[in-house]
Symmetry: C2
DNA sequence: GACTTATACATGCAAGTGCATACAAATATC
DNA sequence: GATATTTGTATGCACTTGCATGTATAAGTC
């Protein structure tokens, strides 16, 4: 593999816009959620991850990997979510180190109510600004950034 | 303007990858910087913003807008950077509410030393994964997300 | 020119995060 | 099967961030 040199202008530009754009759009969407009285996106990510899982259960490790959370960070987020009755920690059969996080009915309900704000926000701040083909192309290019090399 | 509906799958996908990809790549780059003993990217952003400015000076407001920082956040970041001798606060002529932030020689030096790590990191984690045209296309698409509408 | 409003920056306090490390159970090693 | 290593999760502490608000100066209004 080629030793890394200084990046071209196009590459630097893409990188800067990736960060700035991501922050900008995330900020707008988070603002919509907050204004509607909802918790941050991280909560939604966890709820959705659990909802998609079989029986609404996942280990913390699985959630971490899916939503790119630090272990200690997720641990405390789950504390808060459990305190709100959105998830429940249950023992992992056959391994007492582990645990399963299970989404509650209340958690499912919150996920649905958040989507009613979140979905339209994605449309407003992303969908409305890109043609369908552009969105697909953007997704494809971003995909290339996260493959497992280097 | 169209009332926002639920986003298409391509749009949602682009959004999710934007956030996840941005976090992932930023994490890798920050890790390289930290490992080299440097402060976080936010510091670099401020230093570069000042360096590009005429006489190495900008008001906090200008910096905020360029790097998308919260006001209170930048205020405290500048405290830390000033404590490290990287920038200096000087009075703004004709308006005693404002101030000018000026980069010091030490600040310029740090920016250069950080670039020696940062530039190659951008190459490694972005440049190496995209053809030149793809990088340009990515930049173009991301650009569309931050124009001033809605 | 007194009074209100707006702008620029700072700050107390609560909440979140990073880092290192602790703790506990499981697995590997001998 | 005792000991060391690894894996999964939690936590103390320092630092950072968000929110609300404070302070000071400038600009607008009458």
């Amino acid at each position: 593999m080629q030793e890394p040199q200084n990046p071209s202008e196009a590459v630097t530009d893409a990188w800067v816009r990736l960060i700035r754009g991501g922050r900008e759009v995330a900020g707008r969407i988070e603002a919509d959620l907050k204004q509607a009285g909802f918790p941050p996106l991280a909560w939604y990510d966890v709820l959705l991850s659990l909802k998609k899982a079989a029986e609404g259960r996942r280990t913390p490790r699985e959630i971490e990997r899916e939503v790119l959370f630090e272990q200690y960070n997720l641990s405390r987020l789950l504390d808060r979510m459990e305190a709100e009755g959105l998830v429940r920690r249950i023992p992992y059969p056959g391994d007492r180190r582990r645990q399963l996080i299970e989404i509650t009915d209340e958690g499912r309900a919150l996920q649905r109510r958040m989507w009613a704000v979140y979905g339209p926000a994605i449309s407003r701040y992303v969908g409305c600004r890109l043609a369908e083909g552009e969105a697909a192309e953007l997704a494809r290019l971003l995909q290339k950034l996260v493959s497992n090399e280097t």
